[in-house]
């Protein structure tokens, strides 16, 4: 089938302002949008720039706006988006070149929620015990690949770049509800601040965008509840 691929282009070294390039390609319904970009890069315009690595949705490199919605290019098939495909960079982070955005503000928020396991008791000789139910409690939020699809789909984040954003909250949630971790109180205190969970207006774009199908808004709601009640169940 024939597809029309319209791609956002911007090279700060040569362009005054962004433009859209249009490519007409032959594609299979099962092709990934990433395959189309690779084809353009290989055959039509080598200067098209975007990040990618694993090509099967597990590294989180290629989050972009495809037909107006954040997705991973490697996890989106042509048949799912139709024959006219518009590809643009994710919103809310500075565009550096074509589809490449500056990820630093995103990782900065991530680092702020202490996304690391903390347990200061001397470790036992073997594993710390945890029941399957306790393990299941935070399973969903362990799936995050830090692709930023969620945070850059969030209307609050577009307006307020200092809002920690859903990805940071998801990663805090992963530790707050881990029965082995001891720093839940500190993390909740951080998230209770001005740019924390209370900025979330349950807009839900994040959950719809997450390529790992993490129930992000639910996780945020659980964190809100934990802050108000102090209960970590």
């Amino acid at each position: 089938m024939k597809v029309t691929l319209k791609v956002f282009r911007y090279n700060p070294e040569t362009d005054q302002r962004p433009r859209y390039d249009v490519f007409h390609l032959e594609a299979e319904p099962n092709d990934r949008v990433l395959d189309l970009l690779e084809k353009v890069k290989a055959e039509l315009d080598g200067s098209l720039s975007y990040r990618r690595s694993c090509a099967h949705g597990i590294c989180g490199s290629d989050a972009m706006r495809i037909n107006g919605r954040n997705r991973l290019a490697c996890k989106t098939l042509v048949k799912d988006v139709g024959t006219t495909i518009v590809v643009e960079p994710i919103l809310g982070l500075p565009v550096l070149k074509d589809l490449i955005v500056d990820m630093e503000p995103f990782f900065e928020s991530y680092r702020k929620v202490m996304p690391w396991f903390i347990n200061t008791d001397p470790p036992p000789e073997k594993e710390r015990l945890q029941s399957p139910e306790e393990r299941e409690r935070f399973d969903d939020t362990t799936k995050c690949i830090l692709c930023a699809a969620c945070t850059t789909s969030c209307p609050v984040f577009w307006a307020d770049g200092s809002y920690f954003g859903p990805a940071a909250i998801v990663n805090a949630h992963r530790f707050i509800f881990d029965s082995r971790d001891q720093a839940a109180a500190e993390r909740l205190a951080i998230l209770a601040q001005e740019e924390g969970v209370w900025r979330c207006r349950t807009s839900f774009n994040c959950t719809e965008a997450c390529p790992r199908e993490i129930q992000i808004t639910k996780a945020i709601a659980e964190v809100k509840r934990a802050i108000l009640t102090g209960r970590l169940d």
Partner: protein, 129 residues
């Protein structure tokens, strides 16, 4: 594995949390006031049947005045807190946020007091008296 015991921490109360909760508390309360008010005034009675006389007549019942006060208080507080939430998305500096909050508070106060005075004072027949 701590069988059956819920892990707990000290709850953290911040002002942002209180704004958030307040929107929800007033939200629930307003259901009692806003829907009846809108349905009665806008739908059943209609603007063509409302004038000073009508107001004077319904306010003869003190309960209506109490109702209207609660209506005024909950909706306007809710609305102003809501507006603050919206503005906080766009105003980022700590000083800007503080100023915005204060301006809203002043508007809130003035308007609420005006409304309350009207409800208490009722329809005055001598203008300005």
């Amino acid at each position: 594995m701590a069988e059956g015991k819920v892990r707990t921490v000290q709850p953290v109360a911040t002002s942002e949390a209180r704004w958030w909760l307040w929107l929800r508390i007033t939200g629930v309360l307003m259901v009692l006031f806003v829907f009846p008010h809108v349905i009665i005034k806008d739908v059943i009675v209609g603007v063509h049947n409302i004038d000073t006389e009508y107001v004077a007549q319904v306010w003869e019942n003190v309960l209506v005045r109490v109702f209207d006060f609660l209506l005024l208080f909950t909706t306007f507080t809710h609305g102003m807190v809501g507006l603050r939430q919206v503005l906080m998305d766009f105003v980022h500096s700590p000083s800007g946020r503080k100023t915005t909050t204060w301006i809203l508070a002043v508007i809130w106060f003035v308007v609420t007091v005006m409304g309350t005075m009207a409800i208490i004072g009722g329809v005055s027949l001598q203008p300005g008296a």
